[in-house]
């Protein structure tokens, strides 16, 4: 049986005016690293809070480890590790005090589960007498992860653990998650960074409270319905305007150092586009077909 199951979960705020989560269903298998991918305000945090028994859904059911999130919330709280999006440890307590406090709250000790957190803890151990509020962003997240792991949870909920963290620390963080997964811990993680999606085994793309696609990243990419081109030139902003003026263009978005283009007829109209661009005085345009990224899929699915 899946470790985390959501069935038709809906959650509204302001007496039904704001719909944060809209009829969401998905399941996370035992030992899976599952990602919730979506922009800010997509409803990721609400889903996490419902699963970690902090919020009650308006309708639908959810189960964690086979326990109902409403009825058996005490059992769930015993078994899961939860790391909220906002740093939520005691800022005026030191690294060590935070860790041992949470260990004791879960009727455990640091020593008992040291093996699980060792890889992460050694990185923050030099600062163990420092107050948590004085740590850098990446260090804070590592400490929060340690505290969420200190009781050896079976399911780990991580709400945007890499937001506001530098690129190197982000990479390290995902490597840690992989190692935790190898220990058999089921991990549900959310992120607004599309490039992190491929680091998950399966993902759910979320937009405005609804799941718009679910599957392995490769699967979602392979279902991208069109050919995708990448266009580059010396005058990128003029290029964007003119590609969009090309009658057959379905979409054109700026993507880092290139523009990603799809055509409305699913044909390769690359040559026609090049001719069109020449009439607009673009002579150094470089166009090639590329494999779409999750972000391309997301933008396509959003429409």
């Amino acid at each position: 049986m899946a470790d985390v199951i959501l069935q038709n979960i809906t959650k509204t705020y302001n007496k039904g005016e704001t719909r944060a989560v809209n009829d969401v269903s998905f399941a996370v298998e035992k030992g899976e690293l599952f990602g919730l991918i979506g922009p800010d305000g997509a409803g990721k945090t609400s889903i996490f809070r419902i699963l970690s028994t902090l919020l009650l859904a308006d309708s639908g059911t959810a189960k964690v480890n086979g326990f109902d999130v409403v009825k058996d919330y005490r059992s769930i709280r015993n078994q899961v590790g939860y790391m909220p999006g906002k740093f939520s440890l005691y800022q005026d307590l030191t690294v060590e005090e935070n860790l041992s406090f949470f260990a004791t709250v879960f009727n455990s000790t640091i020593e008992e589960n040291y093996g699980l957190i060792k890889d992460i803890y050694v990185q923050i151990e030099p600062f163990k007498t420092r107050r948590a509020g004085k740590l850098s962003g990446g260090m804070k997240q590592k400490l929060a992860l340690c505290c969420a792991l200190i009781h050896r949870p079976t399911v780990l909920f991580l709400d945007e653990p890499t937001t506001g963290v530098d690129a190197v620390s982000r990479k390290e963080f995902w490597e840690m998650l992989k190692r935790l997964k190898e220990q058999g811990i089921t991990i549900l993680v959310s992120t607004p960074y599309m490039d992190e999606a491929t680091l998950c085994e399966r993902i759910a793309l979320i937009q405005n409270g609804s799941v718009i696609s679910i599957g392995t990243p490769e699967n979602i990419i392979s279902h991208f319905p069109k050919k995708l081109l990448s266009a580059k030139s010396g005058q990128m902003s003029r290029l964007l305007t003119h590609i969009r003026q090309f009658p057959e263009t379905a979409s054109c978005f700026s993507f880092g150092d290139a523009h990603h283009v799809t055509f409305s007829e699913n044909k390769n109209q690359m040559n026609e586009l090049l001719v069109f661009l020449k009439t607009k005085n673009h002579h150094d345009v470089e166009i090639k077909e590329i494999t779409p990224t999750i972000e391309d899929c997301f933008i396509d699915l959003m429409k």
Partner: protein
């Protein structure tokens, strides 16, 4: 139990690492006591008083001269009736009137005995008490002067009348009042932000997703403040005994026990506020404004409850500080034992239990 100790330890860390709050915690009672102490003991200078001298003889003139020399009084000599005196008091410009009856010196010379009346406006009991003391000591010094000269037991009887507040309530009773006020307010204020702070900082979010017991979390919040308040109490008592010379007539142990009861009541009330609000600011406002005024106005410390309208008298019964004020006065000033205050104690116990149970019940196991 291990969990409870971990919670308590954590709360102590919070308290001791928040230096500013700690300063407030100990600074407030000390400054209050010292402030009130000096407000009470300070000399009163150049008070306007009226002398009604119906005798106008050698003796009265001598006494009035002595009063004029003293820096405490500015004297106006007018003859007026008792009705007029009362009018003058109502205007509030005059605090004290000294009345010498006709034939003052005559009766002193022939009967060895004379009477003088001092009437004071006791709406401000401290000032009234001090001024009557000044006036009577001047009169008595004249009496001593006479006796020293002639070895005859002259006696000037001083008839002191306090109007508006004849019992002089509050004059020496400010220490129990400050104790009730400070212990109660500090305890409410400190705990009122304790739980809501965790909600605001987000730490409650992590804490909730753990197998903690509500009662442990709630009670552990109160433990550090309970001990700090007892230290505060000890400081207040030391200051009042050694700085203000107000001895504790009854049992110190009983006083501490009853104070613990008030502190627990106040802490429970603070926890209730903390559990019912969603921001530290709201909690502070409720604790400060919502508790300060009723405690000051309705505890009987500043204003006598007997003189209040019936509705306020009824409301004053739910103010814990009122009962504590009665208890402390009984122990400290009257030196009474437990048998005299068991009723008030029982009321406080009831309040503490009620508030604690409600605040634990009010604890939200989920985010709003």
């Amino acid at each position: 139990m291990k969990q409870f100790i971990a919670f308590v330890k954590k709360e102590f860390y919070h308290v001791f690492r928040d230096r500013k709050t700690l300063l407030l915690l100990f600074g407030m009672p000390i400054s209050q006591i010292v402030l009130f102490g000096f407000a009470l003991t300070n000399e009163i200078k150049n008070s306007k008083i009226v002398v009604c001298d119906y005798a106008n003889d050698v003796a009265t003139r001598r006494i009035i001269d002595k009063m004029e020399v003293s820096a405490n009084f500015e004297i106006e000599r007018i003859l007026m009736s008792h009705q007029q005196i009362e009018e003058v008091f109502r205007e509030g410009k005059i605090k004290l009137v000294v009345v010498f009856p006709a034939n003052f010196n005559n009766s002193l010379a022939h009967l060895n005995k004379a009477q003088v009346q001092i009437i004071a406006d006791a709406t401000d009991p401290n000032t009234a008490g001090t001024l009557t003391n000044y006036a009577s000591s001047i009169i008595l010094s004249y009496q001593a002067e006479l006796q020293g000269l002639q070895k005859i037991p002259y006696q000037i009887e001083i008839d002191i009348r306090m109007i508006y507040n004849p019992e002089l309530k509050g004059a020496t009773n400010f220490v129990p009042g400050v104790m009730a006020l400070v212990l109660f307010l500090i305890s409410v204020l400190m705990t009122s932000v304790s739980i809501v702070r965790e909600k605001e900082n987000g730490t409650m979010e992590v804490l909730l997703v753990s197998p903690f017991k509500t009662i442990l979390v709630v009670i552990s919040k109160a433990v550090p403040y309970f001990f700090l308040s007892l230290i505060n109490l000890a400081m207040i008592l030391l200051l009042s005994v050694y700085l203000l010379n107000l001895p504790i007539k009854g049992s110190v142990l009983l006083l501490f026990a009853e104070s613990s009861l008030l502190i627990i009541t106040a802490l429970s009330l603070g926890l209730l506020i903390s559990n019912s609000t969603s921001s530290q600011r709201t909690a502070m406002i409720i604790a400060l404004l919502g508790m300060m005024l009723p405690t000051i106005l309705l505890s009987g410390f500043m204003f006598p409850i007997e003189n209040m309208p019936l509705a306020l008298q009824v409301i004053s019964n739910i103010v814990p500080a009122k009962w504590y004020y009665i208890i402390v006065k009984s122990i400290m000033i009257k030196g009474l034992g437990f048998s005299a205050i068991w009723k008030e104690t029982l009321i406080l116990v009831g309040m503490a239990l009620f508030l604690l149970v409600v605040s634990i019940k009010k604890f939200k196991v989920r985010l709003v």
